[in-house]
Symmetry: C2
Subunit: 583 residues, 2 copies
């Protein structure tokens, strides 16, 4: 438990002093892979700083790119979270550097941009595994700069290494349209001397992006609160636990998360998460074999998420779990017991009809009924239809959701239906569902090798996926694991039978990731597409609409190859969006 | 010459009696290829008639399709030329049949539809050759029903054969929108009994297609008048010659032909045509070495084409011919001589500056200058630029055209520029050219294996190509040979180093072809796309526009394969156009 306690001690100092790397508990993994380092031999002189491409995974010890770009210009909407990448290239190494980011400037005036920050990116262990199942033991590892450290971190550089930097600019919503400048500075912490400086010009458009909770794009990353209580060694659902979760839920809300993941019964998914999912509803069986339910934790969780603006839906897992077993507490003995009950069986129907009646009553009292969906996991169609029947018989207007395969039997029943990327809803089905205000989402997981959201995925994949979901008519994007931390999440993204990084988007102590930031970029592009469409329809700007739809064709087609990767697709679309934003 | 005279004799009787097949001079080729005939063994009974697919080449002796469809419904615009295919299936053979087509009916009223007719399709010899160059001598032949006979023809059937029928309906432009019916009847000429009957319902839209000459789609099929004078043994440019050409030029105008092919000097293209191209301007050299030009034939030809409504442009061949030689008549001796003159040479500049000055003066007198374009053939860029320079120096506002490769040096100079299908003008170039009222066309030839306009091409290719040209931003379609007949064009479509059928679209005595009719279909689809776009833009029908543009995506992509052939693409687009026509 030592690690947890140390980490916890750190948490209390966040924002005031150096973050984990300075503590000694964190050791950034060295890259042990074989790369071409020959280019370093012809390089010398002090550490240099340049704008770099956020589409490239810069290997730490490989021959660095020949780049020297000290200013750059980007376009943004008001309310946008901009992401940029810079790169330190150090032929001879240097002592600890600290980053700082200026306010926005226009003429003689300055403007604060709260939430903006510059941070070192951190290398984490990954492999080339991009499938489901256990990778071979012999699979070599390498490191990628996926983690984005806290802004106060300082980083020294070894000779012949690079260090990427991530810059986040939260463009204030009330800024007047026009050009603003900003400066990023790297300072040697020992000498106090400037080690590098980059200028940035941001052309701020008249258009505005809504705040995360007000976005129409439906983001659903399933939450795993028990990773946090385990990692920091705090009691689940204590005040400390909730406070520790704040940075993750803030990021989740910023990205536009809509659904609260509610666990009804113990562990719906077997081995899928490093930490077991404890129920948020306590189920008791009385001596007379009747059921009783306690919603204390459920209420605490739902209220907590609501305080972060994540409250559009409660997604309750699950009427068809991986194992047909339901844990409950025997009221007489206080012991935990397990009921085995297959969908369609008498015991299943007894448990679920009792529970759903009680739950619906609780939800209605709390005004939550209309936003609650009972989830099913993808299992045999017979089981799913049996579950659906008992739910609808018991509480006819109860909403139901499924992330799974395409079943014609269910497309007109489910209130939220999510297909894996690569499967398709027919156009008329999507339209029919939208006309009835039903949600239609797309997900990726270990079964979608690329584009995907692994630590080894191409960086632009994160931006591509939400836009792809939008371009193909979906309402949003789902991923089963926002924060299912491994035992050593700061250093090693591998876990179990999944592709590395597939199990979490954010790192301990509130650290972001390249994947999270690129996903936000993609969601913002989706929002821009929606708002530009609305605006151009209102103005009957047919040429503009056509230009936008044409730019979406390569994305709708899904055609990607070595010469036409997600980065090219995303960059082209961004250009079109920028052009249309100026009309 | 016997054949020519017989054919000529026939021509005079067209419309009154049986056509060529009855004359004894025509012998429809038998199919000598190996096909599966086993299905005939289980068939017996009288000859049957069914609607069939115009996307299929029905082999004459192969096991016939199991079809029995006696009525069908199609959608049409007013002014549209509809094409449908039917099939006679004869297990036991039958005597000569004659076809007849009723007027249009609605309730108790009938309406004439002039130009509508039902005709037997005729098998012609083809091979699988779809490339440029001489096919191997051993390449097997087969027959395809590409030729559409004259409506008065009668055809008997051998046992175990099929016979396709082509139905053309010219929907009158003044018809009121609504549903009309028509009946096709096959009658045994000996017994006078009905051998088969098919019903057709046509839903006539409120929309109208313009007449051929008023279409915006730019069709340019180069004409070869000397095929006709040779085939019928008449003096070129005699009254007889012009009269004999009427049916071909009527069809050409009906399809929307815009350009008159004018031959300035003897034979621009070497071996490319079975019949030599004689000049339409007579060039004389006086004893003092100066030039004199006679425009008698030119004027006769241009006026003749104008009388058919083909008059938008005069396309004059060619400033850069295949061989750098120019034939002229020595005025002193009356002998024909040849001047060799490479572009850029003194003699070239002397000839062309003299000719163009004289020609421009003649064109201006006749009010034809603005519609005249001097054509170049694709040769070395140096030669083309030299030709362009002397033309523009001599007559600065003279228009120039080229069908060839993409040359950035020429895209902003040429008034008409045609690229082979598969090459592309950048979007901004197409737009720039259109803004300046320059024509941008696409062509196919022996170098475009599929889709193409050979007798062995998939029937839907003919409809696909014009729509593809439109969808990819071109103004129209060009083919180098509308009527370059072989020695035996009624029976054998092979010629020289070309793919079979590549050298002509229409057959002697005014017979149409499947390829011509499908091409007209495609041009009409292009016109519908243009008119629907205009109409929907006017009404700001954004969903309709989007639906249309979406339907064009598969065509713009050009992606075709065995499971996604041109017939599927064309049929899908037709469905969308039909839907949008009803809005």
């Amino acid at each position: 438990m030592t690690r947890f306690l140390l980490s916890l001690a750190l948490m209390t100092s966040i924002g005031a002093a150096a973050a984990a790397p300075a503590s000694g508990t964190y050791s950034e993994p060295a890259d042990t892979s074989t790369v071409d380092t020959s280019g370093w031999a012809s390089l010398s002189g002090p550490t240099r700083l340049s704008w770099a491409s956020k589409n490239i995974h810069y290997r730490q010890r490989a021959t660095p790119p020949q780049i020297a770009c000290s200013d750059t210009t980007v376009n943004a909407w008001r309310g946008e979270r901009l992401g940029l990448e810079a790169l330190l290239i150090s032929p001879e190494g240097c002592g600890p550097l600290r980053l700082s980011l200026s306010d926005l400037r226009q003429g003689n005036r300055t403007y604060r941009a709260p939430g903006s920050q510059a941070s070192f990116m951190r290398y984490v262990t990954s492999t080339s595994w991009n499938a489901c199942g256990y990778p071979p033991d012999t699979l070599p590892t390498f490191t990628v700069a996926d983690m984005i450290d806290l802004p106060d971190a300082t980083v020294a550089m070894q000779p012949a290494t690079v260090r990427p930097i991530w810059l986040t600019v939260e463009v204030p919503d009330n800024l007047r349209p026009g050009a603003y400048t900003m400066t990023l500075t790297a300072t040697d912490t020992k000498s106090g001397k400037e080690a590098g400086r980059l200028d940035l010009t941001i052309n701020v458009s008249k258009h505005s992006l809504p705040a995360g909770p007000d976005q129409a794009f439906y983001l659903d990353l399933w939450q795993q609160p028990y990773s946090v209580s385990r990692y920091y060694g705090v009691k689940p659902w204590s005040d400390e636990h909730l406070k520790l979760m704040d940075p993750y839920m803030e990021k989740l809300a910023r990205a536009g998360q809509k659904a609260v993941s509610v666990i009804l019964f113990y562990e719906p998914w077997g081995e899928q998460s490093n930490d077991k999912f404890e129920p948020m509803v306590e189920t008791y069986r009385r001596p007379d074999s009747t059921w009783r339910f306690d919603y204390t934790t459920f209420d605490r969780w739902v209220d907590y998420m609501d305080s972060h603006g994540i409250n559009a839906n409660l997604e309750c897992f699950t009427m068809v779990p991986w194992q047909p077993t339901y844990r409950y507490r025997d009221e007489a003995t206080g012991e935990l017991r397990t009921l085995e009950a297959r969908p369609g069986s008498e015991s299943y129907n007894d448990l679920w009809s009792t529970f759903l009646t009680d739950f619906a009553s609780h939800l209605r009292k709390r005004g939550l009924f209309d936003k609650t969906m009972i989830a099913m996991d993808e299992r045999g169609l017979t089981d799913m239809l049996a579950a659906y029947r008992i739910a609808k018989t018991t509480v006819p207007d109860l909403k139901m959701s499924l992330a799974g395969s395409y079943h014609p039997e269910l497309v007109d029943s489910l209130d939220c239906y999510t297909l894996i990327k690569g499967d398709f809803f027919p156009d008329d089905v999507i339209k029919r569902r939208r006309d009835k205000d039903r949600l239609t989402l797309m997900y990726t997981c270990c079964a979608t090798p690329a584009p995907s959201q692994f630590s080894n995925s191409a960086p632009a994949d994160g931006a591509y996926l939400p836009v792809y979901a939008t371009a193909t008519g979906h309402d949003g994007y789902l991923h089963w694991s926002y924060m299912n931390w491994t035992d050593n999440p700061l250093e090693d993204t591998r876990f179990h039978m999944f592709a590395p990084g597939d199990t979490y988007f954010i790192y301990p102590d509130g650290r972001s990731s390249l994947r999270y930031e690129r996903m936000v970029e993609g969601i913002q592009m989706s929002e821009k597409i929606r708002l530009l469409r609305e605006d151009m329809r209102r103005r009957c700007d047919i040429d503009g609409l056509q230009s936008l739809e044409n730019a979406l064709i390569p994305i709708r087609s899904g055609a990607l190859n070595e010469w036409y990767p997600t980065s090219t697709v995303v960059d082209h679309l961004q250009q079109t969006i920028d052009e249309l934003s100026r009309r």
